[in-house]
């Protein structure tokens, strides 16, 4: 396949949500000596943007979006590995978000949807999973240096954990380095304000808007 055909096929694999094809094409692109940054810019990003726009307009749905995000994730890993091997620097995305559901809470789906939508909008997402202890959050903020830490708690019982993580971030001297946004059924606007969170949203689409707003304010400060 020509360079153009490879890039178009990779983009199509993202749009159609075909993780196997996406990884295979990313490998072919590396083998063909095509600049991996170009593949990210011309295939992955426009592909996932198209899916995200389709989701926003109601033409495609969460399962499509999640599978496209999986395809993007697999292809991205292969391309970034090549960038690192060649000694290049990875291009900074729109912003980096570390996500997780707090300790004691096993609710995964809402947080996963938020993560998927954020990646579809160009964020780099590090998903720590569910039942995440506060020291793991603190370590992730230290190691990944995200722009935003997103935490979810569906249960009122575990909402207090959100406060404890922000306190732990302060104790570690990391609180000012990151915007904290929270969401989930147990969270209210008042609660978010009471723990000094920078942002709060009840659903994934609002979450993306809040994340973009937080980045803009970060840029301007």
């Amino acid at each position: 396949m020509s360079t153009d055909a490879l890039l178009l096929s990779l983009r199509a694999a993202i749009v159609q949500g075909d993780p196997e094809a996406a990884e295979r094409l990313a490998t072919d692109i590396v083998a063909a000596g095509i600049d991996p940054l170009r593949a990210i810019d011309e295939a992955l990003r426009p592909g996932i943007t198209e899916v995200g726009e389709g989701f926003a307009s109601g033409d495609c749905f969460l399962p499509d979006l999640v599978i496209s995000a999986q395809a993007m994730k697999g292809a991205t890993a292969i391309l970034e590995k090549e960038i690192a091997r060649a000694g290049g620097t990875q291009k900074r995305r729109l912003g980096r978000v570390v996500l997780g559901t707090v300790e004691g809470d096993l609710h995964d789906i809402g947080k996963t949807i938020v993560g998927t939508l954020l990646s579809a909008h160009g964020f780099e997402v590090v998903d720590l999973g569910v039942n995440v202890p506060r020291d793991v959050f603190v370590a992730a903020v230290r190691d990944y240096r995200p722009d935003i830490l997103g935490m979810s708690s569906l249960l009122t019982l575990t909402a207090k954990e959100l406060r404890k993580v922000t306190e732990a971030l302060s104790e570690a001297g990391l609180r000012d380095s990151v915007k904290v946004m929270i969401g989930g059924g147990a969270v209210t606007k008042e609660f978010a304000a009471s723990i000094g969170a920078d942002g709060f949203a009840h659903d994934a689409e609002l979450g993306v808007r809040v994340a973009k707003r937080l980045l803009a304010s970060e840029g301007s400060s």
Partner: protein, 483 residues
């Protein structure tokens, strides 16, 4: 391919077989001993010739049981009604469930909320809205009211306007002697109507309705034989008694139709309602209307006829919560009973008024009812045992699985009107309730939905027929109003 509609695989029967038989035996006894008034000389002659006892002076006809049985045996259990677009042809009978809309004779203006008798232009707009609704499989005409046409010629204008604004099949009424003109229009258009014949309860076939049987059956259009006793007033107060009367009236019309054209398609149409004994009003939204509608479907099946009900209805004056619970309970009951045609979508106020918002909401609910009829598909792929094992416990999930993407649409119903977003997103979207959302959809469709126009020749033919109607009924040279 004819319109698929929905399929009721397992009708929910409310009556036992013995109860259905007793109702039908009662109807035959009523027809044999009390008989019916048939106010039409030619119809009387046909019935007399076939062996009915006829009192010419009283126009009273008594139907021998074997003649009624003959008529039942003649008529087909299933048949087609041709649309001019073959994809919209109806397959009447069997397990098929169709919905029909009734763009009523008064309409609620979307912009102002004003309730007014429709004009030709209103009816054109409402017919286009019904045309745009996927759950409207066929369209029924209202009884004759148009504010901008003389009463004598309204029915013909209603039909011509509907033909011009939908490719879907329509009902053909018989009021005011319109049936011969509707038949002529159908010949020009190359399509069939279901000829609606409305019995007057108790036990009377008015002259225009008898003429409708002669015209529609004579030209091979299926008959839509409707009986609507008002319980406690023009029918017995009891549901069982009114089912006897309703069945007798329908079978009386059926005999006449089969004499005109043996083997012609005929549909059993239930329209019985109770009278509210506090007010003297027709209580059309009553839950027993739905129970009677379901029973009508079962009786028709026993008689080997397709069934229809002039339901769902409501007594509500606005598209409100009452309109919804009355209409949608009735529609669900009738659909689950396997009634082949549930016909009065979009109506309020005993179907006296048509609301565009209600139409859009009914369309959505009928989609949900279709989902109810579909039921649950159980096979290896859908049982998903292997998938459940693969995903395992948390943090496994199903959102990113190909199986989800492959199957979720077939087992979900995605509403267009219902509010589904979270509270904050709903607030951000303007806090719109279901009525505002339905009104927006209706306005957009009425402004933008296109219906394939009639050819100029056919359109001119409709004008010619309308001019002939006006010349005959009004003694004028015809109207210049073309829509």
């Amino acid at each position: 391919m004819p319109l698929a509609g929905h399929t009721c695989k397992k009708p929910c029967d409310g009556l036992t077989q013995e109860e259905v038989e007793r109702i039908c035996r009662g109807a035959l006894e009523v027809l044999a001993e009390a008989g019916m008034v048939v106010a039409h000389p030619k119809a009387l002659a046909l019935l007399q010739e076939a062996g009915c006892g006829v009192d010419q002076a009283a126009q009273r006809v008594r139907f021998p049981r074997d003649l009624v049985q003959w008529a039942i045996a003649q008529s087909p259990e299933t048949f087609q009604q041709q649309a001019r677009n073959p994809d919209l042809t109806l397959n009447w009978g069997g397990a098929t469930v169709y919905f029909g809309a009734f763009p009523g004779f008064t309409s609620l203006d979307l912009a102002t909320g004003e309730r007014r008798v429709s004009t030709v232009e209103d009816l054109a707009r409402l017919s286009r809205l019904c045309d745009a609704m996927p759950e409207v499989h066929t369209i029924c005409q209202p009884t004759p009211h148009l504010s901008d046409k003389p009463p004598e010629v309204v029915m013909e204008w209603v039909l011509a306007t509907t033909f011009r604004n939908t490719e879907k099949t329509t009902m053909g009424a018989a009021f005011g002697g319109c049936s011969k003109w509707v038949v002529e229009m159908c010949t020009v258009l190359g399509q069939q109507v279901h000829g609606s014949i409305c019995m007057a309860s108790p036990l009377t076939v008015p002259v225009d309705q008898a003429q409708g049987v002669l015209d529609y059956a004579g030209a091979g259009h299926p008959l839509h034989l409707l009986s609507g006793p008002m319980r406690g007033a023009s029918g017995p107060a009891t549901m069982a008694g009114t089912l006897v009367l309703q069945t007798a009236e329908i079978l009386g019309g059926h005999v006449l139709g089969q004499l005109v054209r043996p083997g012609n398609g005929a549909i059993y149409v239930g329209y019985a309602t109770p009278m509210d004994m506090r007010l003297g009003t027709m209580a059309s939204g009553s839950i027993d209307v739905g129970i009677m509608g379901a029973a009508s479907g079962q009786i028709a099946r026993y008689l080997g006829m397709p069934s229809a009900v002039f339901f769902p209805m409501t007594d509500a004056k606005l598209p409100d919560a009452q309109a919804s619970y009355e209409r949608h309970l009735q529609a669900l009951l009738c659909a689950q009973a396997g009634v082949n045609h549930i016909m009065a979508l979009g109506g309020l106020e005993n179907e006296g008024a048509f609301s565009p918002e209600q139409m859009v909401i009914d369309n959505e609910v009928c989609g949900m009812i279709g989902k109810v009829l579909e039921g649950i598909r159980v096979d290896d792929e859908r049982l998903a045992v292997d998938l459940i094992k693969e995903v395992g416990p948390i943090p496994g999930n199903y959102l990113g699985k190909e199986h989800t993407r492959r199957h979720w649409k077939e087992d979900y119903f995605l509403p267009k009107v219902s509010v589904r977003e979270g509270y904050d997103a709903w607030l951000a979207g303007g806090s719109k309730g279901v009525l505002e959302r339905a009104a927006e959809i209706a306005s957009r469709l009425m402004a933008t939905h296109q219906v394939a126009p009639l050819s100029p020749e056919v359109d001119r033919e409709l004008d010619r027929i309308l001019a002939a109607v006006e010349a005959e009924k009004l003694g004028t040279g015809g109207s210049s109003h073309v829509n």
